[in-house]
């Protein structure tokens, strides 16, 4: 433990404990599986364990005696996998270790009290194993995160998953889910901001309204309403024309059939000196809604031919 190597203390502890425990673990335990796990689970667990214990993970690092330990762990992980993935070898192994095979079929229906005791001991030992405990914890957090997600409690789901990802940063499932949750979470926040913005607009605080709309649009990039409102207010307040143009363009991209969006974009483009582009959007807008006040204004302007 005192050895000065390129590993953090947690990692060292984990490797030491697992290496010490290796000889007492059965093939399922080595991979962190329960007896009776399916081939797909075996394969997944093997790949997961390889990610942690393949010596290439520590390439070019000073591992001292830990290199031999890691190699030994990986060899056993691979050996366990090789046995469990090959139907023939697995059948042989389960025949030689009937307690593992029976558990697969009737997990809780143990024959004798001794059996039950042994199984409990095994499970307890199993649970103490640091790599496995961490893995179980990650799995628990993942499950609870999924549950919160299903019940709509996104902030709780986010907290759980965030913790899980810190425990096991390379876990792909957690990573994917966390992205999804973050996205949902942001959508909800965007909706809140949008409401706040509308309230502020009603109250007449246009500056604040513009700010909250922009925040909402940034949080949820798929909300056309937020983008439109933000662009509109920015234009009215005469703030940041570039940002306004981007937002207005986004509103048009998201909902190209809204005449309002078209006219807003046209107006902003015109101000920016892009008359041609502005005209194109304006014509689209007129096509979409000829009765729009902007459209009428435009027409009346057109009829007033200057002499």
């Amino acid at each position: 433990m005192a050895e000065n190597v390129d590993l953090d203390a947690d990692r060292k502890r984990e490797i030491l404990a697992l290496e010490r425990a290796l000889d007492t673990l059965n093939h399922f335990e080595v991979l962190g599986l329960r007896p009776g796990a399916s081939s797909a689970e075996v394969k997944k667990a093997y790949h997961e364990a390889s990610r942690r214990y393949h010596p290439d993970r520590y390439f070019g690092k000073n591992l001292g005696t830990f290199r031999a330990r890691v190699e030994r762990i990986f060899k056993l992980v691979h050996e366990s996998y090789a046995v469990l993935i090959d139907p023939q070898r697995r059948a042989q192994y389960e025949a030689a270790h009937p307690e593992l095979a029976t558990k697969a079929t009737k997990a809780d229906n143990l024959k004798t009290p001794e059996d039950a005791q042994r199984s409990a001991e095994r499970r307890a030992r199993f649970a103490r194993h640091p790599y496995l405990t961490r893995l179980t914890k990650v799995h628990e957090l993942l499950a609870s995160g999924k549950k919160s997600l299903a019940s709509g409690d996104f902030s709780k789901a986010y907290a759980d998953l965030h913790l899980a990802s810190q425990l096991d940063p390379k876990n792909h499932d957690v990573h994917e889910l966390i992205l999804k949750v973050r996205h949902r979470h942001e959508q909800i926040r965007a909706a809140d901001e949008l409401q706040r913005g509308q309230a502020a607009e009603k109250a007449g605080d246009l500056e604040l309204a513009a700010k909250t709309y922009v925040t909402a649009a940034n949080l949820d990039r798929r909300s056309a309403l937020a983008a439109f409102k933000a662009a509109l207010l920015l234009r009215q307040n005469g703030q940041d024309p570039k940002e306004a143009r981007v937002l207005a363009q986004r509103a048009v991209d998201l909902e190209p059939d809204k005449a309002d969006h078209r006219f807003l974009l046209a107006a902003i483009l015109e101000n920016a000196g892009l008359a041609k582009l502005a005209n194109r959007h304006r014509e689209e807008g007129i096509k979409l809604n000829p009765n729009h006040p902007e459209a009428k204004k435009r027409q009346s302007k057109k009829s007033r031919w200057p002499f």
């Binding site: 790949h47 390889s50 990610r51 393949h54 010596p55 993970r57 070019g60 060899k75 691979h78 792909h172």
Partner: protein
């Protein structure tokens, strides 16, 4: 300072490619001529200049004896082996036998080992990479055909070392292709890589799952590739010509080289057109006088397919074997990836499509994908955050020789490394006190048909009837692919072990010697060309000045003016020595200039004195 860049090198039979991962994307590094592919050709011109790559290939026709191509087919092999003898028949450059049955190429009057030839190509690629990054590059992953044995891998590693590279890992070409294919994509499932290159054929089956690349099985033939297809065409042309004129063109090295070039070109053309012409004017002059003969022949795709049908078929037979070993049916595969220029041949494509019952993957560039994959692996090893992990396998079985001349496998092929295996053996004779452990690599049941990697003796066994003394033999392959073997007498606990350092044709001493020689005469920062020329010029001038010094000293006879000039001459000579030790071209050129001036001065004096004296 940015971290030192790492590169991946596909050292091919006909062409080599270097790649790197930049900004999270693997990319090919163009050579200094602006091409992605550098021909794996090394030549020494009549004037003693070393050429590598495209320029070497271009002058092959006029310099067949001094141009080495397809060195990969010979690297790490034994001179006496039957297959090498077969290959030698088709080569246009002279090849000899080295001290330990290794192959040497005769170039410019010297016998050069194959790792040195490959090193010249690697050095060129290294320089291209350095030109690209603008900083020194030394860390590289190099690929070899999956079916290369330990000796061939070691020889490739030696080549890297000679070229001044720190070879992080030697990986298999099909694996590299799969790495490049799966990199950055979230693919999961089994894929097959069908790699028919210039000299070798490989097929590998991998399971990809979220960045973990697990090789299930791999196999191939190290002497089946584009060169063999070319040779079939050459044979047909030679045969036709012999029938017409009664002359065997193979005896003429220059004609053979022209034939090879034309055959390769015709073969490539026939991948896109149905018929092509082979035109080789003035191919030979009959020995009895008379006008020169021309070779002119039309070649159809059908004819090419007929000539090479058995080669195409062999690839599929090997595919069947490997898929059976991986316990995979063609239907279970998610994708078939084609690698190597030869997979452009329509007949090969059709065969693959027919066997795997699907359209092969079109998403990868067959000639560049291997180098990209090597770069991905180099990056994965160096970069901690990489999600890529390669679980590679041993391509061939490892075992020991047992009584009766048989081989007993300890680590079967396609075992994921690192791995170790222990088995108990017994003595085979009464009162046997020593056993010889011979470490073998190969699939044959007969010991001598396998490659011998190393041997050692365990002695001091108890005298007993046969079968009583038990010896525990352990084989181990670590993650670097290095094999070690140990044997233990179970009773006494006596132990013997070796780490197998396969000889790639070069002994340790020879390799050290080559590396040392290079230290003195390094062609490091410019490769073949300028620096060597500058050095030579400087050395020559220095020699001339030194030769004149005694004469001048005598002629000056202690005059003040003369002594001063002499002292300055000595100074310039010391400067020259220093410039020679360094690698700076400008210092050398400056020194050479100064020395030339001194030389002219001396010559002038001597001339005047000489005329006065006479």
């Amino acid at each position: 300072m940015p971290p030192e860049p790492v590169i991946g090198i596909d050292l091919g039979t006909t062409n080599s490619v270097v790649g790197t991962v930049q900004g999270g994307q693997p990319a090919v590094i163009k050579n200094r001529l602006g091409q992605n592919l550098t021909p794996s050709v090394v030549a020494v011109t009549k004037s003693g200049k070393q050429l590598v790559g495209q320029i070497a290939k271009r002058q092959a026709v006029t310099n067949p004896e001094g141009t080495v191509y397809a060195a990969k087919r010979l690297i790490g092999r034994k001179y006496s082996s039957e297959r090498v003898q077969q290959v030698l028949k088709t080569l246009s450059y002279p090849v000899g036998c080295g001290d330990h049955d290794d192959i040497r190429v005769q170039l410019d009057g010297k016998m050069i080992s194959l790792p040195e030839i490959s090193a010249a190509v690697l050095r060129e690629l290294k320089l291209d990479a350095e030109a690209f990054f603008g900083q020194p590059v030394s860390k590289a992953v190099i690929t070899v055909p999956a079916y290369f044995n330990d000796g061939q891998r070691q020889a490739t590693k030696d080549a890297g070392k000679i070229a001044g590279l720190d070879v992080l890992r030697i990986i298999n070409e099909p694996t590299a292709a799969a790495l490049a294919y799966g990199f950055g994509k979230d693919v999961s499932g089994r894929v097959a890589v069908f790699d028919l290159g210039g000299g070798t054929f490989d097929i590998s089956v991998l399971e990809i799952s979220k960045g973990v690349f697990d090789v299930a099985a791999t196999g191939g033939d190290t002497l089946l590739g584009g060169e063999d297809f070319d040779n079939r065409v050459v044979e047909a042309l030679v045969f036709g010509f012999a029938k017409e004129h009664g002359i065997d063109l193979r005896k003429d090295r220059m004609a053979l080289q022209r034939l090879k070039d034309a055959a390769e070109k015709a073969k490539i053309e026939l991948s896109t057109v149905n018929e092509t012409q082979v035109n080789l004017p003035f191919i030979c002059t009959p020995s009895g006088g008379g006008s020169a003969l021309h070779l002119q022949r039309a070649l159809t795709r059908e004819k090419l397919e007929e000539l090479t049908e058995d080669l195409c078929e062999r690839t599929i037979v090997i595919c069947e074997q490997v898929l059976a070993e991986a316990k995979v049916r063609p239907d279970d595969l998610k994708e078939v990836i084609l690698v190597g220029g030869m997979t452009r041949m329509p007949r090969i494509m059709a065969k693959v499509k027919n066997y795997f019952r699907r359209e092969p993957c079109k998403g990868v560039h067959p000639e560049e994908v291997v180098a990209l994959g090597a770069a991905v692996q180099a990056n994965a090893l160096i970069n901690e955050d990489s999600r890529v992990l390669l679980l590679d396998v041993t391509p061939q079985s490892l075992g020991v020789a047992i009584a009766g001349g048989y081989a007993r496998k300890l680590i079967p092929k396609n075992t994921t490394v690192p791995t170790s295996m222990t088995e108990v053996f017994t003595t085979s004779k009464d009162c046997q006190t020593t056993v010889k452990i011979m470490v073998l690599q190969g699939e044959s049941e007969i010991a001598r048909e396998n490659e011998l990697l190393g041997e050692f003796v365990l002695s001091g066994l108890r005298e007993a009837t046969r079968g009583e003394v038990e010896i525990e033999v352990t084989f181990e392959i670590n993650s670097e692919g290095i094999v070690s073997a140990s044997a233990k007498d179970k009773e006494t606990g006596i132990k013997q072990s070796i780490t197998v350092i396969a000889s790639g044709g070069l002994s340790r001493e020879e390799l050290d010697q080559i590396l040392e020689e290079q230290g003195g005469d390094l062609i490091d920062d410019l490769g073949s060309g300028d620096l060597a020329d500058c050095k030579r010029a400087l050395k020559d001038t220095m020699r001339e000045v030194r030769a004149l010094l005694p004469k001048v000293t005598a002629a000056m006879n202690g005059s003040d003016f003369g002594m001063d000039a002499l002292r300055r001459a000595e100074q310039t000579l010391t400067q020259g020595e220093q410039a020679l030790k360094g690698k700076s071209i400008s210092a050398m050129v400056a020194s050479t200039d100064q020395l030339t001036r001194t030389l002219n001065l001396f010559k002038g004096w001597l001339q005047r004195i000489g005329t006065r004296a006479s």
